[in-house]
């Protein structure tokens, strides 16, 4: 019981600990460009109370959501097909090998030349950032599907496309969702960096503009807000994930007698 309560409190304690170290550090360094934790935390409600800022942040989230969804719609089918067809894999693998190590935000200036500084360019960068891990994990997941499972389906009369959707997809789902989780975090990162390069609106825009203007408490407050969004999104996704693949979780019904 005790251990359980503690494990719920642990993340909170970790956050408080981090803030405490920050507070002590900034008091010791005592420079203007490193505000104390208390100053930064105090600036958070100021930002969230400002209509303009909230619109900016929501704008960021909207772009991120659209690009994330589009990336899943593209990357999951592609990854699954690569996993089941040698031909498709040998065609796309080299392309992915080339794109994988390129920081997607570094493509931003080029993409801006084509698509301007608007939503489209930013969403494309997020799309690219999310797609790669999702393709990779879908590929691995599809490749690992036990062949006899597909045979069983074929014997029941499932056609090849039906086997793809009704056997490969669910069987690979745990692996796909692992990729999606990585993709979600990458979406947030590329979202902020895309707005750093194409300043126009968004959470990244607030952050880097206040940095230019020397409003350091706002800078750090934005970092806290973005970090909190990351934690929130990840927690929400993890909740969804564990519901969707309850059947694959190791021993999810076994009581933890030694806890």
């Amino acid at each position: 019981m005790m251990a359980r309560a503690l494990s719920h409190l642990a993340p909170l304690l970790a956050c408080l600990g981090l803030l405490a170290i920050w507070q002590a550090g900034s008091l010791m360094l005592n420079t203007e460009s490193f505000p104390t934790a208390i100053e930064a935390v105090r600036a958070v409600p100021l930002i969230l109370g400002d209509r303009e800022s909230v619109i900016n942040i929501l704008d960021s989230l909207r772009r991120m959501a659209i690009a994330f969804a589009a990336a899943l719609l593209f990357a999951v089918p592609l990854g699954l097909m690569m996993g089941r067809s040698r031909l498709v894999a040998s065609f796309f693998n080299p392309l992915l090998m080339i794109t994988y190590p390129v920081p997607k935000a570094a493509l931003m200036p080029i993409i801006m030349l084509w698509l301007g500084v608007g939503d489209l360019a930013k969403m494309l960068v997020i799309f690219l950032g999310v797609s790669l891990p999702v393709i990779y994990h879908s590929f691995q997941g599809a490749r690992a599907v036990e062949e006899k499972m597909l045979w069983s389906g074929a014997a029941m009369g499932l056609s090849a496309p039906q086997r793809m959707i009704r056997i490969v997809l669910p069987a690979a789902l745990p692996e796909i969702l692992t990729g999606c989780r990585t993709g979600l975090v990458l979406a947030l990162i590329t979202m902020v960096t895309s707005e750093m390069i194409a300043r126009q609106s968004g959470a990244g825009n607030i952050l880097f503009n206040s940095l230019d203007m020397g409003q350091y408490d706002t800078v750090y407050a934005m970092i806290i807000i973005i970090g909190a969004m990351g934690i929130g999104l990840d927690a929400a996704f993890e909740k969804l994930r564990s519901r969707l693949v309850r059947w694959s979780e190791p021993g999810f019904d076994i009581p933890l007698s030694f806890a």
């Binding site: 069983s152 029941m156 669910p170 069987a171 059947w247």
Partner: protein, 258 residues
Amino acid sequence: MIEIDHVSQTFRTSGRQAHLALSDISLTIEDGAFVSILGPSGCGKSTLLYIVGGFVSPTEGQARVKGRAITGPGPDRGPVFQEFALFPWKTVLGNVMYGPRQQGVKAAEAEAQSRRLIEMVGLKGFENFYPKELSGGMKQRVALARTLAYHPAVLLMDEPFGALDAHTRTRLQNDLLNIWERDRKTVLFVTHSVDEAVFLSDKVVVMTRAPGRIKEIIDIELPRPRRRAELLLDPRYQKYVVEIERMIDDTSEDGLRP
């Protein structure tokens, strides 16, 4: 009728070696016959089943069902795999219902049928368990029920009772015989148990150590319906078992002294 006509199967292993798994197999299985295949591990029993199932196409020769060459799997031939291959994201009930639903049986009817089958294989009360939560023997029984559920005319069973305790095994053997006698299915049955093969079959095929060839085909002329208790005391039954066991011993010896 299933005809296996001079079938050979060569596998190319990852080490780029050619490996002869089946060598010139010819076998005819009449409609409604119960045929067992016995042979040492690795002699190609599963491979032969996969060829009849249409999952693997033979490198040489041809397999036919009702006179037509087998080009792929179909719901007329239902496999029960050695590895079970259950759908892990489906519950026991979901797995068993999968086939009938695919064949267009209405949900309520498919469920009622499936529940009866689950009860028959002794898994009543486990309908909502996931495969992960079952023992090996339980999974094997779900795999059996899942295949029976879509009523294939031919059953291709790969050691379907291998993971069961003696008691459950005997019960399921009887259930299988009842189904077979009622529906007159054709059964191709791989097993390691000579007892089981003689008890169930019209014909027992004994294979040699790899590369698998047919060593002998024995017709089991015991009256039906067969009852285990009576059969065990029947000298004809005992003679078959002893004779086949001796044959298998010989095939193993072949392997020991090449």
